[in-house]
């Protein structure tokens, strides 16, 4: 098999059957934002805005590097943003402005213009 062939045959999520490390029996209590992110995923599914399979594909579309380096719910929220851009529900600039506003609000800063 050529060195790139496996990249074509195996998308980032498709890891069933690959060699891997021993199981580390890790668990953590979800952070508040992680739990909100999970609830958001469910609500997006209820409203048929983003269903579970679209979410899974959206995570896969992040590519191997992001899938490998972002945490579980980090992958989800970035995938949601990308899917919402693609569906033209949100625009990238709009999200960037809103993130600036949220950051400023949380830092106790006044929001100047937009």
């Amino acid at each position: 098999m050529t060195s790139t062939e496996n990249l074509v045959k195996r998308l980032p999520n498709d890891i069933g059957g690959l060699p891997a490390e021993p199981i580390q029996r890790v668990e953590h209590e979800l952070e508040p934002w992680e739990k909100r992110c999970h609830a958001l995923a469910d609500v997006l599914d209820f409203h048929k805005i983003i269903n579970t399979e679209e979410k899974r594909c959206g995570v896969e579309a992040l590519g191997a590097e992001m899938v490998g380096k972002l945490s579980y719910y980090e992958r989800w929220i970035v995938a949601f943003a990308n899917i919402l851009f693609r569906k033209q529900i949100l625009a990238p600039e709009e999200l960037a402005r809103k993130m600036d506003e949220v950051r400023a609000r949380w830092n106790g800063e006044a929001v100047v213009g937009n």
Partner: protein, 223 residues
């Protein structure tokens, strides 16, 4: 249905789902935290979702713990007709039992027997019977379990301390977005006089994933 609290998930931390809600916010907000809030607020501003929906869904998520699945298993152990309905249509039987499904998923219940041991996994992501077990543990979502469970399940089980005899078939079921699985573990010997609550107390999350058998010791205190 009444929630029950038998401390059956030692070290798992499902006992106090509400205690940590404020703590994380003391840390400075990070990029993804900000992104989540921004996406949510924009969707609310566009009236695509209601502000209250997220909060209500968090309450639903918090209400789902392995204690629900444990009650289903205990009932199935005691009531052969319920067990038959559960194996025929997992979702319908759970709904009949009072467990609502907040998604479109189907549930297939896999019965462990003398000759078959079942294990569930989601190789592609993290599909899990959330309405009956709550959210999956981190290890279920990480690469080692997802990659290896389907190719060397006996080795994976051994890492959980579970040794399956060679003459017992190990069946691994790979979940999808629409089809979820729940393992109906074998009722351990020595539980013939247990009440339904006592039985539920020995059914842990991991027994319903299939990585460990149900054992009398798992229930801890018994009268």
């Amino acid at each position: 249905m009444e929630p029950h609290d038998h401390g059956h998930e030692a070290g798992h931390g499902h006992d106090h789902p509400h205690d940590h809600a404020e703590i994380g916010q003391l840390a400075p907000p990070q990029f993804y935290d900000i992104m989540e809030t921004a996406v949510r607020e924009l969707l609310i501003e566009k009236k695509l979702i209601e502000p209250d929906e997220i909060r209500r869904q968090i309450e639903v998520l918090d209400s789902r713990t392995p204690a629900l699945g444990a009650r289903v298993v205990a009932r199935a152990w005691l009531d052969p007709e319920f067990r038959a309905r559960l194996l025929a249509n997992g979702r319908a039987a759970c709904e009949e039992f009072g467990i609502s499904f907040y998604d479109d998923t189907q549930l297939i219940v896999l019965e462990n027997t003398e000759t078959v041991h079942n294990l569930i996994v989601c190789t592609l992501c993290s599909c899990y019977p959330r309405p009956v077990l709550g959210l999956p543990p981190d290890w279920y979502k990480l690469k080692p379990y997802r990659a290896r469970a389907v190719i060397e399940p006996r080795a994976v089980l051994a890492e959980f301390g579970t040794i399956i005899p060679d003459d017992v078939e190990v069946r691994v079921s790979d979940s999808t977005a629409m089809v979820r699985y729940l393992v109906l573990p074998r009722r351990p010997e020595g539980t013939e006089d247990f009440t339904e609550d006592e039985l539920a107390a020995i059914v842990t999350r991991d027994t319903m994933i299939g990585v460990v058998p149900a054992t009398v010791a798992a229930g801890g205190i018994r009268q």
